[in-house]
């Protein structure tokens, strides 16, 4: 199950969606809006996405995870719009026969999702500032050929 929702995420339902009699190991990750970043306080987050591409990217990540690990069922649900402190913006669930596959696949899916899936958060700080978060640094490489760099190309 891959979905993008404007509503609160039912995390128990996400976990239940990967349940399988042949799986002994179920891992659920829930990402929630955190109050403090260092000494700075967040009021809320607002998520936006490029919906069709985000959904396609999430499905291809699930396929890639299934190629890498013997996992059985996988669900990813991302919420968009306002996500208040303590509320879930993302839930990822993975089931497998054994726990190492579930843990590794869930952790990898989060890692890739945060690099490749077109979803953005706007941080609304308690001090009144607001900003879109566009991380610096390593971005996912587009192709194997990264040779023709110029100032108008994403720095890989």
């Amino acid at each position: 199950m891959v979905s993008i929702t404007h509503n609160p995420i039912d995390t128990a339902a996400v976990l239940a969606s990967v349940k399988d009699a042949d799986c002994g190991a179920n891992v659920l990750f829930v990402g929630t809006t955190r109050r403090m970043t260092g000494k700075r306080e967040t009021t809320r987050l607002e998520y936006e996405c490029y919906e069709e591409m985000a959904r396609a990217k999430m499905m291809s990540l699930v396929d890639a995870a299934r190629d890498r690990w013997p996992i059985v069922k996988t669900s990813i649900v991302h919420r968009v719009g306002v996500v208040e402190i303590g509320e879930a913006s993302i839930a990822v669930a993975v089931s497998a026969a054994h726990r190492s596959a579930s843990f590794d696949a869930a952790s990898w899916l989060l890692e890739r999702l945060k690099q490749e899936v077109p979803v953005w958060k706007r941080e609304v700080w308690a001090d009144g500032q607001e900003e879109w978060i566009h991380p610096q640094g390593e971005a996912a490489p587009v192709t194997k050929d990264d040779s023709d760099r110029d100032s108008t190309k994403a720095t890989p």
Partner: protein
């Protein structure tokens, strides 16, 4: 040819629109599109340099021709999760 480019997040906010349309020669590549975007919308110059271009919902490298593209989007560094 005229090509519409979808904008998101800080790019959308800076430009004040959720898409922009640029005119390009039929032989234009992703690299040409980047240059045209920066030239017409200097306010997003730095962000374009750090962004990917998605052509029909796939990340596209700079040498890709865009004449047949049905949907083009500027993808600033993502921050979902």
């Amino acid at each position: 040819m005229m090509k519409r480019v979808l904008l998101f997040a800080a790019a959308k906010e800076s430009v004040g629109q959720d898409s922009i349309t640029v005119e390009l020669p039929d032989t234009a590549t992703v690299a040409d599109l980047r240059k045209q975007l920066v030239s017409e919308y200097p306010v997003i110059r730095d962000l374009v340099a750090r962004s990917f271009i998605a052509v029909d919902q796939q990340f596209a490298s700079n040498d890709v021709l865009i004449a047949d593209a049905k949907e083009i989007a500027l993808i600033p560094p993502v921050s979902g999760g």
